[in-house]
Amino acid sequence: MRVLITGIGGELGTRVAMLLEEEQEVESVLGIDIDPPRRRMRRADYMRVDPLRRQRTIDAVRAFEPSAVLHLGIYEPNARTNAGPALKRTEIGTLATFGALSGLDGLDRIVVRSGIEVYGRRRGAPSFPDETTPPDPTTSFGSALLHVEESALALAESTGVPVTVLRMAPLVGPHFPSPLGRYLRLPVVPVSGVFDPPFSLLHQEDAAHAIVAALHAGHPGIVNVVGHGVVTGLQAARMGRRVALPIFGPAWHSARLVSNLAGAPMPDHVVELLRRGRTADGCRVEETIGFRPAHSTPDVVKHLFEWASVVYLEVEPEAA
């Protein structure tokens, strides 16, 4: 199996590459991304390709001739870059990668990372959507993910290659660059005073194992991957011993401004999660890809706060 990983420079891409390096049946792994992998790779090759440069992406994909593709080149706004470039990289990178794949022989499976942001939280939207619920994104990240899914399904139709779309709950973790994680780790966490709705999360290890499981299963179709259980913004803040500040209405504008200055910019999908909630039914994950997230949503929140913010070391005057 020759595996191409787009977006290897992210925490998720790096972890997936490390898991694949340990497998015998994987002959070679090539990762492409604008950033290098976040750990040392033993077997996987890395090629620096900015997703915005279409031709370079196409050349890299065609030259490698992958038999399996893990499309993890999904850039969450304000995770590693600002919202504009993140959405643009997601869109152009996806089109270039899938365009390059459409003319390739020997390709037998594709796994695409998407998110439960595609369901959207319009007023009256179902609280606990499953895979049969029609997507209706209400945020820029949700729309970008839906475009990725649509192009993936179009590719599946034209080439006949099975495409697994994994709709993942938001990923947060101590080492995981994500706007929601940074926000919840602020000393004072503004939460919705009028809704305080529940949301689900997914552990970074579960996400990586789900992608590897999906690669082996080769199941065509859409699968939600969600940690079981939910928490609300207030609960998450309390679990991290943060001060929860209930706010409503126009105060969210000030909260976004202040949190941006404090180093935790809030893109619209994070604001929506805090004000309207975000969960999905992930009960089909076991029967389709044969894997079940091991960590519940409250576990993910606990794990997020286990990482100490700043540790002040005692300085001994004599030593200095």
Partner: protein, 209 residues
């Protein structure tokens, strides 16, 4: 329960609230808080419950209950069902600030078939009200057939429930009828047939109450 045990359980509940480790479900339902309120509702209402053994011990069920003015009925129905150890999800919460989330904490859900389907999938008891009938005590009211559709599609048993009581009074009679087993079928005719069956059942029970 001895006073020491009571004090300990109250302390546990308060600790969970402060630490944020109490559990909420994806629809925003807070089982612990609702359980406490259902127990406290004995101070307000004295409910006479008949046919409690008709409620299945596990698995999904659809409760169809009658309303007269429709103010107390959802809460009385939920308090009555609490005695059978099944939390009740009452359909008909508006998706708007303050009111919506507050009612969701107590088991309210949006009046949408998708919402009911997702609850049936995880084996919850969902309740839909018949229309309000302030004039006639013995008129069961009409059912929105759209809300019966999920139960028909998934073959969920339907429990007709008749409520009788005065809005400001203490005494309420709640009678749970024998479950109507839906055969797996769908379509407007099946909906109408089931609605008629439920109405006939409820009318007889209202006569008793």
């Amino acid at each position: 329960m001895t006073p020491v045990e009571l004090a300990r359980s109250v302390a546990d509940i308060v600790t969970r609230r402060v630490k944020g480790t109490y559990s909420i479900d994806p629809w925003g339902f807070d089982a612990e808080l609702t359980g406490l309120l259902a127990d406290a509702s004995r101070l307000r209402w004295s409910i006479e419950l008949r046919g409690a053994d008709h409620v299945p011990a596990e698995g999904p069920a659809l409760v169809v209950f009658t309303r007269r003015y429709g103010i107390s009925e959802p809460y009385v129905a939920a308090a009555a069902l609490h005695r059978t150890r099944r939390p009740l999800r009452v359909v008909g919460v508006p998706d708007m600030p303050v009111v919506g989330p507050a009612l969701r904490r107590l088991g309210g859900v949006l009046a949408r078939p998708e919402e009911m389907t997702s609850l049936f999938r995880v084996g919850e008891v969902v309740a839909i009200p018949l229309s309000r009938t302030p004039r006639d005590r013995f008129d069961p009211g009409a059912i929105d057939p759209v809300l019966l559709e999920p139960a028909l599609r998934l073959g969920v048993p339907v429990l007709p429930v008749a409520l009788a009581g005065r809005e400001l009074g203490r005494r309420w009679y709640v009678e749970i009828g024998a479950p109507i087993h839906t055969t797996l079928r769908s379509g407007p005719l099946a909906d109408a047939e089931l609605a008629e069956q439920v109405r006939a059942h409820v009318t007889t029970m209202l006569g008793h109450a």
